[in-house]
């Protein structure tokens, strides 16, 4: 409040209109120097050539609900390959009238995930809720009780299978990874050597070789007469693979702990197990939450590899729709739809990881 300030002085102080507001922003960010101007013009030209036809193809000339014949006459995208086969793509060979069960399991999973978003809610009770929830999802899928008919796991497929492989994979790989990381940091030479060999061996080979191992060699490892179903074999391969990567991440966290923490724990008389459980791991695991989320993201993406050993995950159900002569030739549309699903999953996880990183770095 300075009523004595003359009005014209106030206006003199203001920068020229070309340096503030929208115009100023455009000048500074798009037309700053001849190189930037050239780049901007080139990109605008490129976008103007690409976006409108793409938009037409995707939304205006496209067929959303219709027969394959209508699709072949249209010039745009054929989204009806998705709408007509949506339930098969999402649920695979799961019995048609029972498909509410995988849907309910997935909704449970999403509910738990959104409940766990807020770090303030993380507690033992939420842990138990997860444990109970995962078990309930498994039972819901499998059935065979409370009047639910039993569904063979060979019929599981689509999105629930993709989620199952990644969620159970990470849940089981996490403790194994922590053990491996502790083993690698251990002072006992034999145990350290075992863990180092395991971690480096697994990280050095592609996931697909482990999946081959799970699908063709694993049956040979078992005594005669015992068979384990295909999904579990792939799941074991994914767990063994992910554990090695988690071990490396956790090791990073362990290395980040200062010596003082170990010494302090020792000086109050804690043994190795209590030192780790009460002092070191709670801090180390907190540091490595963001990289752990990125491992979850790659595990989620990597489940698509089970296509190669002929499990009916999301990608495989889509491909079997595409191999139907009626719908042949609309691969682009189908793959774009799946890519969108994967993108939504990974993008929200990545966003969450960035948010966590910010929160955690404030505390330190």
């Amino acid at each position: 409040m300075q009523p004595e300030t003359p009005r014209n002085l106030d206006q003199e102080i203001r920068p020229p209109v070309t340096h503030i507001g929208i115009i100023g922003w455009i000048r500074e960010n798009l037309f700053d120097g001849w190189l930037n101007t050239l780049l901007t013009l080139l990109i605008v030209y490129f976008l103007s050539r690409v976006i409108p036809p793409l938009f037409r193809w995707m939304f205006i000339d496209s067929v959303w609900v219709g027969s394959p014949q209508e699709c072949r006459q249209a010039t745009g995208a054929c989204w009806s390959i998705i709408t007509a086969n949506l339930r098969f793509i999402l649920f695979g060979f799961y019995p048609y009238n029972q498909q509410w069960r995988p849907l309910a399991a997935m909704l449970m999973l999403f509910g738990l995930l959104s409940l766990s978003r807020d770090r303030n809610r993380w507690s033992k009770r939420l842990g138990y809720a997860w444990l109970f929830g995962l078990l309930a999802m498994g039972f819901l899928m499998k059935g065979g009780f409370f009047g639910l008919s039993e569904v063979e796991s060979s019929k599981w497929g689509g999105l629930p299978l993709t989620l199952l492989l990644s969620v159970f994979g990470l849940t089981a790989a996490y403790p194994l990874g922590i053990l491996l990381a502790l083993g690698r940091r251990s002072k006992m030479p034999m145990i350290k050597a075992l863990c180092v060999v395991y971690i480096e061996l697994i990280r050095g080979v592609p996931l697909i070789s482990l999946l081959f191992m799970g699908s063709i060699i694993f049956p040979l490892f078992l005594p005669e007469g015992i068979t384990i179903n295909k999904i579990l074999r792939a799941q074991v391969a994914i767990i063994l693979f992910t554990a090695a990567y988690i071990a490396e991440v956790v090791r990073g966290g362990l290395q980040g702990m200062s010596r003082g923490q170990y010494e302090a724990a020792e000086s109050i008389g804690l043994n190795y197990y209590l030192t780790m459980r009460l002092v070191i791991l709670p801090q180390a695991l907190k540091i490595v939450i963001p990289p752990t989320v990125s491992i979850l993201i790659s595990a989620f993406k990597d489940t698509s590899l089970v296509v190669i050993i002929a499990l009916f995950d999301l990608l495989k159900t889509t491909q079997s729709v595409l191999s139907n002569p009626e719908w042949m030739g609309f691969s682009k549309e189908a793959y774009i739809f799946i890519a969108l699903l994967y993108f939504l999953g990974c993008f929200s996880m990545a966003n969450y990881s960035r948010k966590l990183e910010k929160e955690l770095s404030i505390g330190r």
Partner: protein
């Protein structure tokens, strides 16, 4: 433990040393027991199913064709040769992919840091989209684009002279073999060697006398000029081997198969997004003060980049970059899904034909382990080489 005075008073299970020995022996025993159990099961099963063991199958005739190969290979050759062709295909895809990925990744990473809002946003969305879609899905997508969108060979597109595009691949004209090309290659090698010597000489001279020598321009002249002189000395051979349509397919020229292109494109576009993030983080890791200090002692902006920023940024960039290159090599094993005959794909066929799955999967693992161990050995050497000398 420091209480040497009364060693008897500590029972052995409270003595950390003895306890650790006991724990290790116990673990080893358990691991040994488990492996003995598994191996005995395997031997038992193999005997029951009448599957041969050992690597004897490598010397047998493979009886399958390989779509494309760098060495001459036919179905009459041995499995060993088929697998070698597969390894070479993997190396080919990996090497070309690595070069393209580094170029694209560096461009996108620098673009991400651009002051131009449009450029940095475009780079940012490229990175986000590519990182969040499984690479296998991208491979299928590109393969579908090449296979479904391009016409059959009879109606091949001809975008420019000597180039044809159809669903059998892209064919283009290549220079017909001429002895001059061999000499040009040696001239090129000579040029590289001379530039290397020139650079050392120029550096020495600058250090002793302070005189500057235009190294880059003269080196470029040597490397490009020498082969050109040889070429014109041989009368500038220009004859091209142009692809021609005959019967059902194209003959002559050079063909890039749709499988190879889809694999290369998918791997490159996917990995470049990760490389871009690595490059961005590396450049950002160099403090602002470094640039300002370099400018204040009068270096030109090019020199600031090559003498001050890049040497420091590369030290940060290199380790994650190598692991991305390794990822690309490992991901090239997904070729099996789109039918490019890489090593995993050939090994898979071998397993299916011989039934010797253990040997086959072991071979796959050994080859990839070799790649990654060689890479990490190189990386450790490099890290020692460029490690910061703390004073």
């Amino acid at each position: 433990m420091e209480n040497k005075g009364s060693p008897e008073s500590v029972p052995f299970w409270f003595d950390p040393k003895k306890r650790s020995v006991a724990a290790q022996i116990g673990t080893l025993f358990l691991v040994g027991l488990l492996s003995w159990y598994l191996i005995s099961n395997v031997l038992n099963n193999l005997e029951k199913q009448n599957i041969a063991t050992g690597f004897g199958f490598l010397q047998k005739e493979s009886a399958f064709e390989i779509g494309e190969s760098l060495i001459s290979y036919s179905a009459a050759d041995t499995y060993a040769k088929a697998l070698l062709a597969g390894v070479l295909n993997t190396v080919k895809v990996a090497l070309i992919g690595i070069v393209l990925t580094i170029v694209l990744g560096a461009l996108v990473g620098i673009a991400r840091l651009s002051k131009n809002w449009l450029v940095s946003r475009l780079a940012g969305s490229y990175i986000e989209v590519m990182q969040d879609i499984p690479v296998l899905l991208q491979l299928f997508f590109w393969y579908a684009i090449f296979y479904e969108s391009l016409p059959p060979p009879r109606q091949a597109l001809n975008p420019m002279r000597g180039v044809f595009m159809c669903n059998r691949g892209v064919m283009f004209a290549v220079p017909e073999f001429h002895a001059a090309y061999l000499y040009m290659l040696s001239a090129f090698a000579l040029g590289v060697f001379l530039s290397f010597c020139l650079k050392r000489w120029a550096r020495k001279r600058q250090e002793t006398t302070g005189k500057h020598f235009p190294v880059f321009k003269s080196c470029a002249l040597l490397v490009i000029g020498l082969p050109l002189i040889v070429w014109s000395a041989f009368g500038a051979p220009m004859k091209m081997n142009v692809p021609k349509f005959s019967g059902f397919n194209f003959e002559g020229g050079f063909t890039l198969s749709p499988e190879f292109m889809a694999l290369l494109m998918g791997l490159t576009l996917y990995t470049a997004a990760f490389v871009a993030e690595v490059v961005r983080a590396g450049i950002q890791s160099v403090g602002k003060g470094q640039r300002e200090a370099a400018m204040s002692i009068g270096l030109k902006s090019g020199q600031v980049l090559t003498l001050v920023i890049l040497p420091q940024a590369l030290r940060v960039i290199f380790p994650p970059l190598t692991s991305q290159m390794l990822n690309l090599t490992k991901n090239s094993s997904l070729a099996v899904a789109i039918g490019f005959p890489d090593f995993v794909s050939v090994a898979n066929t071998t397993i299916n034909q011989t039934g010797q799955s253990i040997e086959g999967v072991a071979l796959i693992m050994i080859v990839y382990l070799f790649f990654s161990l060689a890479t990490s050995a190189f990386m450790n050497w490099y890290n020692r080489h460029v490690a910061m000398v703390e004073r």
